[in-house]
């Protein structure tokens, strides 16, 4: 990995368990600024759990415990001085299933900036976020209609716009295309290409083509253990580990 890359998140020896069951075991990896990092692996391998620990969404799950250190710009993400609300407003998230609020399209995007009292013109912010998520042209004439009337793919792009409107430093995406059809998936992948210039994105996916297409770095997780982490090209064309090779070539999983 080249030296010009800045580490924004440093995960050091993270273990995460639910009610005693270890879901993530001693994972250490670094997330680089303005890059897309993909986390791949078979279902139930702990990739979503790991992702959710990066903006403290696991705080809401009873019995979820965590050890090791995760630092965000050299500050302990789980330190006493760190406010989980502030973590989440700086590190946004897009979920597996589109989850727009039952409000208008406009209110969905404006909601985060509004409650957080972000400066600047709200209308401009909403338009910018919707343009970035390539939804603007489809919805600009019906901004005040319910977001629930949008198609699944549009709803997911709306959720991306909702996260973008906060201008977060990192966006976490938890299998954002798993509930979508191939056409909508392709649109979101195009969108990721556009975003990688300006955003740090961590995306969990079980779709290897997707990981190969959009990311610069790829981490392969199996049974909660980080098997391999490196440049995406390396991981897919010349994996160091046999398990990784079997997985990326589709021999198991």
């Amino acid at each position: 990995m080249s030296s010009e890359e800045n580490v924004i998140l440093n995960i050091d020896d993270a273990c995460i368990s639910y009610g005693g069951d270890l879901a993530v075991r001693n994972v250490s990896l670094q997330i680089f600024e303005k890059k897309i990092t993909a986390i791949i692996g078979p279902s139930g391998c702990g990739k979503s759990t790991l992702l959710r620990s990066l903006n403290r969404m696991n705080d809401f799950i009873h019995g979820c415990e965590q050890s090791g250190r995760i630092s965000f710009r050299d500050e302990d993400l789980y330190g006493d001085k760190m406010d989980p609300v502030e973590v989440r407003l700086r590190i946004g998230m897009v979920f597996q299933r589109p989850n727009p609020f039952p409000k208008s399209i406009y209110r969905n995007v404006a909601w985060g900036p509004d409650i957080n009292g972000l400066e600047g013109d709200l209308d401009d912010r909403v338009e910018k976020a919707l343009r970035q998520s390539a939804l603007w042209d489809e919805v600009k004439d019906r901004l005040h209609e319910s977001a629930l009337n949008l198609s699944g793919g549009q709803q997911q792009r709306l959720c991306i716009a909702r996260a973008l409107a906060m201008e977060p430093e990192i966006i976490l995406m938890d299998e954002p295309c798993s509930a979508l059809d191939p056409v909508s998936t392709a649109r979101i992948e195009d969108l990721l290409f556009e975003l990688k210039e300006n955003y740090t994105i961590v995306i969990v996916t079980h779709n290897m083509q997707q990981a190969a297409r959009v990311s610069q770095h790829t981490a392969f997780l199996e049974n909660g253990v980080l098997v391999e982490y490196g440049d995406t090209e390396e991981v897919f064309t010349n994996p160091k580990n046999k398990r990784t090779e079997e997985y990326v070539t589709g021999r198991f999983g």
Binding site: D83, V85, E86, L89, N116, G117, L118, E119
Partner: protein, 286 residues
């Protein structure tokens, strides 16, 4: 960033709001405790064998709830005998036989709305139909039929929900071995739905035990110094006796009323416990 500047204030608001909700909930529980405390302190000294085995009297120290207790027993037994079969069978019809026609939909909506009709309106109905039109007078039978109409919607709704929760695969399996519809219902649907039905029935019966207004409407006497011996006898009931004592100005009668309330609440609490137990066993079996 502008956002951070107000974060502390937002956290304060959130903490305040959480504590507010906890406080209000605690307050509601406190009121329940106060109510029970108030009633127990006033009533427990009066609660003895003499109180349970005496008829009402003008003299507080001689008064008791024998006729009221027996009246309630008569009333509730008859109400149960009338309302449970009708209610459960109505639910069976609506869930298992009825086709989704306009009429069925109307009956369903109608039942939902009947559940919300004030109890005193049922009392008026009982007065006009059972007491006056059928000339059943102020008998246990009139009371039981009025009460049955009142609790029928509750039984039907609970039974319907319980029957609907029985998986369709169970019915299909029984049909596939050549059972008739009634055989399927009797052998498979009703047994599976039983815990839910029983819970609903117990809650409905509890309601019948505690209802006062409809009984006053049909004229259940407030002074009855005998135990009913048949369905056509006049009667009084526990809540009526409590109402009567409460509405007198003397403190002693208020204390008698509390003692009556303690008995009433104990009966209801027991029924509730049985319902909880059945529900617990029902969910465990599933």
């Amino acid at each position: 960033m502008a956002a951070q500047s107000n974060l502390a204030w937002r956290h304060k608001k959130a903490a305040f709001f959480k504590n507010f909700c906890i406080g209000v909930t605690g307050f509601a529980v406190l009121i329940l405790c106060l109510l029970i405390y108030q009633v127990s302190v006033l009533g427990l000294p009066w609660l003895d064998a003499q109180f349970l085995s005496s008829f009402p009297s003008r003299f507080p120290e001689k008064a008791g709830i024998k006729s009221a207790l027996m009246g309630t027993l008569w009333l509730v037994s008859m109400t149960a005998a009338i309302a449970i079969p009708i209610g459960v069978l109505a639910a069976v019809y609506l869930e298992e036989y009825a086709k989704p026609t306009r009429l069925t939909e109307f009956i369903n909506i109608n039942i939902a709305n009947l559940a919300g009709v004030p109890s005193i309106v049922y009392g008026i109905l009982g007065l006009a139909i059972f007491v006056r039109f059928f000339q059943l007078e102020r008998s246990v039978l009139s009371g039981a039929m009025t009460m049955s109409l009142l609790i029928l919607p509750v039984i039907i709704i609970a039974s319907k929900e319980s029957i609907r929760a029985v998986p369709g695969s169970l019915r299909q399996a029984a049909f596939a071995v050549g059972a008739t519809r009634w055989q399927v219902i009797r052998a498979h649907v009703l047994p599976s739905a039983l815990p839910g039905i029983l819970t609903g029935v117990i809650l409905a019966i509890s309601r019948a035990i505690g209802e006062t207004a409809p009984l006053i409407m049909i004229g259940a006497l407030t002074y009855v110094a005998f135990v009913p011996e048949g369905p056509m006898d006049e009667f009084t009931a526990l809540p009526i006796q409590i109402f009567n004592w409460t509405s007198r100005p003397q403190q002693e009668f208020h204390e008698l009323a509390s003692a009556g309330i303690v008995v009433l609440l104990l009966v209801l609490l027991m029924m509730n416990a049985v319902a909880v137990y059945i529900r617990y066993r029902g969910t465990r079996i599933k």
